[in-house]
Amino acid sequence: MTTVDVLPSGERTHQLLSMRARSRPASALSSVTTLAWRAMLKIKHVPFQLFDVTVMPIMFTLLFTYIFGGALAGTPRQYIQYLLPGVLVQTVIFITVYTGMGINTDIQKGLFDRFRSLPMWQPSPLLGALAGDLFRYSVASTLILVMGFILGFRPQGGAVGVLLAVALVLVFAFALSWLWIIVGMLVRTPESVMTTSFIFLMPLTFASNIFVELSTMPGWLQAVVGRNPVTYLANASRSLMHGKPAGTDVMWVLIASAVIVLVASPIAIRMYRKER
């Protein structure tokens, strides 16, 4: 009764299924690269993933420039010089949440079970996902800048300043993503990853000087906002793009990023290796 039309018979099946020495498992670098390739393929197959990444920055830049511009800086064109480096920070920080959602989806689908049972460097799937996300952050950054130029943003720091600012934002986003990886492994659904993360992200980005100068806020709030790492990042981004000295801000952003990575990544990797 088992006439099955799936497998070829005889020698070919033997060739196909017989055991032979396995190749040496992939190196850490090669497994991370391979998993980054997977992240790229996902973007290729599901371009909708890039929808948020493209629409959100365009919308934010337009809305904030024209709604707040007149009130805050006289004209939208003047305001965008201040706003754009900050919108870059805010948008990319928002997008980091997708890292956690992606990890959560992979776990729910059982894909991480397969990864974890493969003889590869165990943290590879996490780093591979992060590599794919860095690409997304770059796409978003590019769009914001293009949008900005169209609306009249003229960075005084030139191309080098702009690129340095983007690079710094990516560093911070990479660090922050580790937090959402942890959240992604803690909660049950991708939706809860989103909700949980935004509880932190909303105050983190709005209680900063992304939209208005620190000096316009009441004293007690200045104390809080002045210590927000996002404020340092927004300052650094602005100063770099406009060619002003940014050393202290850059340093603090790098320190904050390093601290987040040093604390969060061992926890994330430990949780990943641990059973679920």
Partner: protein
């Protein structure tokens, strides 16, 4: 022949639930071994421990002589796991999924691509190779999932409920695959809820219940302990059930088993002649029979024979259907 898998006193708790309560297994190399049991019996937990995804709370497990906790990396080099849910990336195509696994296993891009083409062709998925897995049917998903476990042929293949939810044709295909894989020397450990499946595939099987192995042996040994076959009768009217019970009891003695359907009766048979006898006796007594069948004992019946209670398992009827 050395042992492929040996476990001793494995226990595992999830919160207050005791998933494994001292599992002892000894599985010979090069065999197909079945873990049979209802949902929640501990089958999946056992497989997850053996494939290094979970750590046992106590007890030991070795795979090909390597401890699954202390030599986890070595164990991972020798086994493949096909979980209960298709553990491939649904967004990617069939080809991309297999290349991904091949690359992670250390193949070059070229070898990974070649191996992927080879497997997709052999598994009847060549036409679907360039399509995203999310468009695949249930049977195709199972096949790509098993193919992913065979990118490098493992010494031990774990299959967690490989045919659950498949139509009969796809189920046959998976069975045939498992036989071929085992025929080439890979040890296969599979879990199933279907006695029928365990019977067809596994040389030996362990019946698992509440985290314990409650019976172990070849399927012939197990069947001998529970009677050769089972008889199912459905009456045209539930009113005649008491009379039918009387007739059957007279012929079979104590072989009756509890059923929930008011018009149905199930009984264990010692031989097939008894079935004919029962049918004739029912007809003589003017009891109208709507359905009469003799088949393998279902998982429920195995459980009843082994534990004196049913497995409380809703899908069990399917196995005997």
């Amino acid at each position: 022949m050395p042992d492929a898998i040996v476990t001793s006193g494995l226990t595992k708790n999830f919160g207050t639930t005791r998933a494994l309560d001292g599992v002892d297994l000894r599985i010979r190399k090069g065999s197909v071994y079945g873990l049979l049991g209802p949902n929640g019996a501990g089958k999946t937990t056992t497989i997850r421990i053996l494939s290094t995804l979970l750590r046992p709370d106590s007890g030991t497990a070795t795979v090909l002589g390597y401890d699954v906790v202390h030599r986890a990396a070595t164990v991972r080099e020798k086994v493949s796991l096909t979980g209960q849910y298709a553990s491939v990336d649904e967004d990617l195509t069939g080809t991309e999924n297999l290349i991904l696994i091949g690359r992670l296993l250390g193949l070059t891009w070229r070898d990974a691509r070649r191996r992927s083409t080879e497997l997709l062709e052999a598994f009847g998925l060549a036409d679907a190779a360039g399509r995203q897995v999310m468009t695949y049917s249930g049977g195709m998903r199972r096949r790509i999932d098993i193919a992913a476990s065979l990118v490098a042929i493992p010494e031990i293949l774990f299959l967690d409920e490989p045919t659950t939810g498949l139509d009969p044709r796809s189920r046959n295909q998976v069975w045939e695959l498992v036989r071929r894989i085992a025929g080439e020397g890979t040890t296969v450990l599979l879990t199933t809820q279907y006695l029928d499946e365990a019977d067809r595939l596994a040389e030996r099987l362990a019946v698992v219940d509440h985290g314990k192995v409650i019976a172990e042996g070849t399927s012939r040994e197990l069947k001998a302990s529970i009677g050769a076959s089972a008889m199912h009768v459905r009456l045209a009217s539930a009113d005649q059930r008491p009379q039918a019970l009387e007739v059957i009891e007279r012929i079979l003695g104590d072989g009756l088993m509890p059923v929930t359907e008011p018009a149905e009766l199930t009984a264990r048979l010692q031989n097939s002649a008894q079935a004919a006898e029962v049918l004739a006796a029912l007809t003589r007594s003017n009891i109208e029979v709507a359905e009469f069948s003799v088949g393998n004992p279902s998982l429920d019946e195995v459980f009843l024979a082994l534990t004196g209670r049913t497995s409380e398992h809703p899908v069990a009827e399917e196995a005997s259907a």
